[in-house]
Amino acid sequence: MSAQTETGSGSKTVVAMHAAPVGTAAKPPAHSAFVPVLFFGLAVLTVLGWQTWVLASERSNLNTAYEGQQQTVDNAGKLRASLDGLAADTQRLADRGNGNAALLVTELKKRGITINPQAGAAAAAAAAAASAAR
């Protein structure tokens, strides 16, 4: 289909007109959701990957700290076992009538420290078992 117009100077302008098919509106070009989904997924993946790296690094540091404590904790356990053993033996000596041991036990009691001889024996046994297990 074409239309012709005539101007006053005599030149002709020809305009081509395509006939649109009846009942079909012009559709916008279809966009795939893949690209936005891909970008979103990559963003989430990046954040999660970074978080994993931070957590793994933190775990490594914590493991190092835990292992670094081991010697100190062992020494503290030995000290506690020694203290419990010495206190329990002092209490037993005081119970047998030793005046010096009784004086020490009394002084400790005044300061709010009571000695349980059974606890001392149990702690010593536990310390011995722990050292044997290692």
Partner: protein, 99 residues
């Protein structure tokens, strides 16, 4: 979205889910380990205080044993690997200068 794109997006989603689960697990484990470290630190700090008490008991026993020449106390300390010696009084203080 065609078939390869669908599977690529699915794989990406699965990877994200796996990482998220791993992160949650690792964070929980880290918190537990941190708690353990705190407990051990507290144990050590309490033991430092007990070390002072232990030293005081040993010193008191040694002084009492030495002052009263108590063989039971000396044996008790020796049983725990502690020995002591009594310093002799200075000879100069004992001996009076001759005039």
């Amino acid at each position: 979205m065609n078939k390869p794109q669908f599977w690529a997006a699915t794989a990406l989603g699965a990877l994200c889910l796996t990482l998220a689960l791993a992160n949650v697990t690792m964070a929980s484990m880290n918190r537990s380990l941190q708690s353990d470290i705190g407990v051990r630190q507290q144990y050590v700090q309490q033991s430092v205080q007990l070390e002072g008490l232990y030293r005081e008991i040993v010193r008191a026993l040694a002084e009492l044993g030495a002052r009263n020449n108590d063989q039971d106390v000396r044996a008790l300390l020796q049983q725990h690997g502690i020995s002591y010696t009594v310093n002799a009084p200075p000879a100069a203080a004992a001996a009076k200068p001759a005039k």
